[in-house]
Symmetry: C2
């Protein structure tokens, strides 16, 4: 087992799920008054287009701009006092890095983020802005996991994995808990899917509260590891192609997220970059909301007709909005928003 | 008195205000379940920058993308059955046109919108999309008010003025009512100011519920008619210069809005186009919200330090988000967002 691999989850060998509704409820208590209770946004034009009742959970309005804050904060607050005092470490160049940095600052401890030296300056600055210590590495010549392992050994840091961590999943699951509490019962829940942390938490909540709910994950065509893994009946590794959905470029389901979400998810559908960009444009024009590519993927699947929603109450995660204006303008400039007038 | 001038308001000759909290509460009842109860958005980075507690009322998430829906709907629903059945008319090329069109459709009646033939295609299409009948006129050779007067006489339509109408003001005032109900008491209320409908409604509510509140209006430098009128102690007419704030290009306070808001407003401040564009960029990057120029003006005043907010609880209207992506990218491309990290 590598240093960075998570420990076996409770219940993996038995029939009990590794993650429970109670875990998510406990996370909700930790997050109360700290995370934003983000609004559930509705659009009558979207409902008219789809023939469904769409309930959009606007996690782009979450602290640091994405649902990731929920899981990172829950994980940091779940550490015992000694571990929390020693600090945490996250190998990430994306939203998880910022989430862990902010969670650590709010918990009076420190976060170390291991990030490639060629990561966008904005991501690095944002992480530093939230109080994180950034350790750079060269993608070509250095092994990120080895660097992290050395830091863990030297400084007594605790790894907060971006998704393969039960506390991270439980925190992410509060997204669906709030969506159902505020938006009412759902027939379908459509979730943005990368490593599977959000899907694991949300599927656990939805299935526990609404046994008949249909849970759909959405990943980019260029990174269809979950779809292929479900078809194979076991985790498979794919070659990730280029995609604008930088938060979902993962070659293989997480070990724990596969165990938790695999049995709960009914379907995984894929979306193209063009469908994602079109959904970003539609959200800008009609919802007045800024979504990053990965954060728009679930909405893109609905707008593109990839999910059967007609006549149903459908929850959709808008999972993040961290995209700079230049990138936003570039990726959306060549597409039209779907017509919903 | 021209055909389009509103009738004298109740209470104008006496000491009683022409608009009361009860009028706004009645509007809130009409709007319940029809208008969105938009979220009150907070930002810890904004609070840290300003030393204040900022409560941002996100009316860009309102139906048809701006607070204007509230007033238009309240006005249409306040008509008696015969007048409502005959239909309404609005001379407007902006958000009020769309608001009246949507309000009429929801009230099973028709709206006629008198719009210059050179109005942006998107505005025309949006109005038609909401079911409005657009009557075009040539700015150079035709008189809009005369065209409207003829249509009123011919078809028995009722004028719904964009701001100089007590029911429009009352509807707009529900913005502040919700802000105070959901966000708690305020020391300062900062309101986007064009014709003064939003200011009239919001100032009436705020002063009634919070007698010590400081009410601040914000208009573009290029259209500083309220600021100059307050200095003069009477309404004055200004020459409106070019500005990106297309919803606030009005040369003179409304007759009724001056009567209602004039005695209630403590201060009117002005913002430049650059300050507005900078606030739009900041809202995109940090709030993940799309604001149109006029909708960002109150926020711009706070970010630019034009309003004394330190140590106070401050409500701010984000009054609309109807801006196309190309325009948004163009006006924000040359400015930086204020630093709030």
């Amino acid at each position: 087992m590598s240093t960075l691999e998570p420990p076996p989850a409770a219940g993996v060998s038995g029939t009990a799920p590794a993650l429970t509704l109670d875990d998510v409820r406990a996370a909700a208590q930790r997050l109360a008054g700290v995370a934003h209770r983000t609004p559930v946004v509705t659009s009558r034009t979207l409902d008219a287009r789809t023939g469904a009742t769409l309930l959009l959970k606007a996690e782009n309005l979450q602290r640091m701009g994405a649902f990731k804050f929920r899981g990172a904060y829950n994980a940091v607050r779940s550490l015992d006092d000694a571990a929390r005092a020693a600090g945490v470490i996250a190998p990430s160049s994306g939203n998880h890095a910022q989430a862990v940095a902010l969670a650590a600052r709010l918990s009076d401890t420190r976060a170390v983020v291991v990030m490639p030296t060629d990561a966008p300056v904005a991501k690095r600055e944002a992480t530093v802005g939230y109080g994180g210590e950034v350790i750079g590495y060269d993608r070509g010549s250095q092994d990120r996991d080895l660097i992290a392992a050395e830091l863990i050994a030297e400084r007594g840091l605790t790894l907060v994995h971006p998704y393969d961590n039960l506390n991270v999943m439980a925190g992410a699951g509060t997204t669906a808990l709030e969506l159902i509490e505020d938006g009412g019962p759902l027939d379908v829940l459509v979730v943005c899917l990368g490593g599977g942390g959000l899907l694991s938490g949300c599927a656990t909540v939805a299935r526990a509260l609404l046994p008949a709910v249909r849970v759909v994950g959405v990943e980019p065509v260029a990174s269809d590891d979950w779809q292929r893994s479900l078809a194979a009946g076991e985790p498979v590794t794919v070659t990730v192609g280029p995609t604008i959905a930088d938060g979902q470029m993962l070659p293989r389901p997480g070990r724990l997220t596969w165990q938790v979400a695999g049995p709960l998810v009914d379907q995984v559908v894929t979306v193209t970059d063009e469908q994602i960009a079109s959904a970003m444009r539609w959200a800008f024009e009609r919802l007045k909301l800024v979504l990053e590519p990965s954060g728009a993927s679930a909405l893109a699947a609905v707008l593109a007709g990839q999910v059967d929603v007609a006549g149903r109450r459908v929850g959709v995660t808008l999972s993040g909005g961290n995209v700079d204006l230049g990138t936003f303008a570039r990726v959306t400039s060549s597409v039209r928003a779907p017509t919903t007038a």
